[in-house]
Symmetry: C5
């Protein structure tokens, strides 16, 4: 599971039906790369989170038919970044 | 879900039957790498999109038997690229 | 779906039974890395192709029980490489 | 299967229900990148381990419905790192 | 499917039950990175092999319930490394 910092909410009006009304977050990784994840936890910007990808990303959503490949699984309480 | 810019349509006459008549787009990533994605949304070149990969890429297509591993899921309205 | 140039046929006498008699190709990527893919299309060396990976790689084969994770899906007609 | 060094336990109070009470470990890879894995083995910090990802990460857990994508599979006895 | 050189056997006494008694090999990639793979073929160190990952890694094993994500699929007879 990858470690990311939540940067922002993603604004997206046109999307595929399979995403339903899932909340989307823009994440920034340890080397500055950016990704989009579905967020069932409700995480404010600035927090460190870890995500699950692949089929597990769907099972981590309340509705497992959501067409996502990256879902926030938890907020990290402490994180000593090197 | 990855973030990409749509570069072009992909012209491809010889392809496997499982791709059916899916629209294909050439995408460019944040570090300049290029990929091909199926496009159920209908995105013109120049737009920023996010994609889902793996099995979720098939479920994001109207026909989930399409043999794709990368599908455009939505157009990003605003995007502050760093 | 990734973009590759077909470099060569792969010669391999000892292989797992699940690969059946699938044709194998050595591919070269945009940064010079090399991979092996199953080829249901029949692509000669020198052509640019795109591939699908993961479970979709199996569904793109005529026999979906083939134990592959990368399958050539089509020949790219035109390709403006940057 | 990737090779990692166990760095620390991950403290995380808010998490998705699908993670159950699985132990989480922070791992460091060969190039310094950090990941989070579920740990069914019980590995102390400082040990070298190898992990499985994707669907196999779930099957490696005692409860295969755990929403993980990276699970520690074993402790490496000897490891000559180059 | 990735291309690797077999470096060594992996010694590992404590492992998850799902790995059964599968033979494990340490592989070295084209850029020097190291991975662990299950080996149903029986490959001695020094040989070049190609592997399959994800769910196909399990189907390439004699026992497809083995919790692996990387399995050696064949020995490459000739290999012109650039």
């Amino acid at each position: 599971m990858d470690i990311w910092k939540v940067v922002d909410e993603l604004v997206c009006t046109r999307r595929v039906p399979g995403l339903h009304a899932a909340s989307l977050r823009v994440l920034e990784g340890q080397t500055g790369e950016r990704m989009v994840a579905t967020d069932p936890v409700g995480v404010p910007p600035g927090k460190w989170v870890f995500t699950t990808l692949g089929t597990a990303a769907r099972y981590a959503m309340p509705d497992p038919t959501t067409t996502t490949d990256l879902t926030i699984c938890g907020i990290i309480d402490q994180w000593s970044q090197t």
